[in-house]
Amino acid sequence: MTTLFSNISLITSLLQSNGKYYSVIAVVVILFLGIILYLWRLDNKLNKIEIQIRDEHKTS
């Protein structure tokens, strides 16, 4: 538990260094990951449709 907390404080001190520049990087990374996650969900939706089409071809 203490190592977890020391890791977190390590990360926050890193983000605060260089005039908090790395916190901006963190914001950009979150933005990127969020959009990627959304694309991932859209991808899953398309997968389902593809499976549906394939199954229909098999049955017919």
């Binding site: 916190s23 990087i25 979150i30 933005l31 959009i35």
Partner: protein, 362 residues
């Protein structure tokens, strides 16, 4: 044949390419442009008496104290009352000790904050308000002593030229979040307006195409909104010192997001196409009508940490200068274009999904 296909592709996709190029421009410029020099930290007594000798150790940011020919420093009492430093001991580019002999009088009966102004020919002027506070004097307030304050700074202060972002205390480098966090919220509102437009269009025409478009725009907008909350939370942690505060703007934005999250629950809980389309169109009109006062009206009526409230506008004013605008407006456009792109993919998936469902029934 090949040529026609290519032309069509260009015709259909130029705005997507424009969005991506604009975002790359914002990433490179917004993360790469340096900040103007500023005063990062002070080692000084919290208060000083008039007539006292104070020495202040200044830590600069992006500063060039050692390289500059001459570093000047002033303490400002108010407009028309300045005192200049006696001599400075430069340690290196980032560190300098400035010494002042405070004039033996103050015109105030209470503690007054003095503003530190520094200037050198490379960095231009840098300012730190509340550098030190001047304690009140009661005995020695004669006008002769008072004239020892200079009525102006006897140097011309030319600002550092070039494309540089403004240096703001507390904000420091996080001023760049303007291009990501603030632009994201503005893009969200624009995309929600597109969703609202299609919701109204559905109610008027009963065309299922409008229903799917409305759902696509609203979904993308909510993803943007949730990302806006997450990025704002990170920004708050490193400027206000906490992930979340009970600030009006923050809580109202969270409520607005919850209202819109209910939109998806509504959509997923109704299976009948027409009913779902009607209900969700009506709900998204309600959601937008609730969002506007929650985000733009109520927070302005209360004091708030968040810029854009309590009488200080978020756009315009000193917070957004021309160098920030160079990247802020392109960032909004880029995020709108990318959002419309993602929405169009969402819409086409829904279209194919519906096509399969209806053709399977027959």
């Amino acid at each position: 044949m090949e040529m026609i296909k290519k032309d069509k592709w260009m015709y259909r996709s130029y705005w997507k390419i424009l969005g991506v190029l604009l975002f790359i421009y914002v990433l490179i410029g917004g993360l790469g442009t340096p900040l103007k020099p500023g005063i990062y930290q002070l080692d000084a007594p919290t208060s000083a008496k008039p007539g006292e000798y104070v020495s202040i150790k200044v830590t600069g940011y992006n500063s060039t104290y050692a390289k500059a020919e001459k570093v000047e420093a002033w303490l400002k009492l108010d407009d028309g009352h300045y005192t200049s430093s006696l001599r400075n001991q430069v340690i290196d580019n980032e560190r300098i000790i400035v010494n002042f002999l405070l004039p033996p009088a103050s015109n105030k009966e209470d503690y007054v904050p003095l503003t530190l102004i520094m200037y050198n020919e490379i960095d231009g002027p840098t300012v730190l308000p509340d550098a030190i506070s001047l304690s009140p004097v009661t005995a020695q307030s004669d006008t002769a002593a008072f004239t020892q304050w200079q009525d102006q700074i006897n140097s011309t202060l030319t600002p550092k030229s070039g494309i540089l972002f403004p240096y703001r205390n507390i904000l420091h480098e996080t001023i760049r979040n303007t291009f990501f966090h603030v632009a994201l919220w503005l893009a969200m509102v624009i995309i929600l307006i597109a969703g609202l437009y299609h919701a109204i269009a559905y109610l008027r025409t009963k065309n299922m195409r409008n229903d799917k478009l409305s759902a696509a725009y609203n979904t993308t907008a909510i993803v943007y909104g949730l990302l806006g909350l997450a990025t704002g939370s990170i920004w708050a942690r490193f400027t206000w010192g906490t992930w979340w505060t009970t600030d009006v703007k923050l809580n109202m934005a969270a409520i607005a997001m919850l209202i819109y999250l209910a939109y998806f629950i509504l959509r997923s809980s109704i299976n009948d196409f027409d009913k779902r389309a009607r209900f969700s169109a009506a709900y998204s009109i309600f959601g937008f009508v609730a969002l506007i006062p929650l985000i733009f009206v109520i927070p302005r009526m209360y004091d708030s940490l968040h810029p854009g409230n309590g009488g200080n506008p978020a756009l315009g004013g000193e917070d957004l200068d021309n160098t920030l605008r160079m990247f802020f407006y392109p960032s909004i456009i880029a995020m709108i274009l990318i959002g419309v792109w993602i929405s169009s993919v969402f819409y086409r998936i829904k279209k194919v999904e519906e096509y399969i469902l209806t053709s399977g029934d027959q």
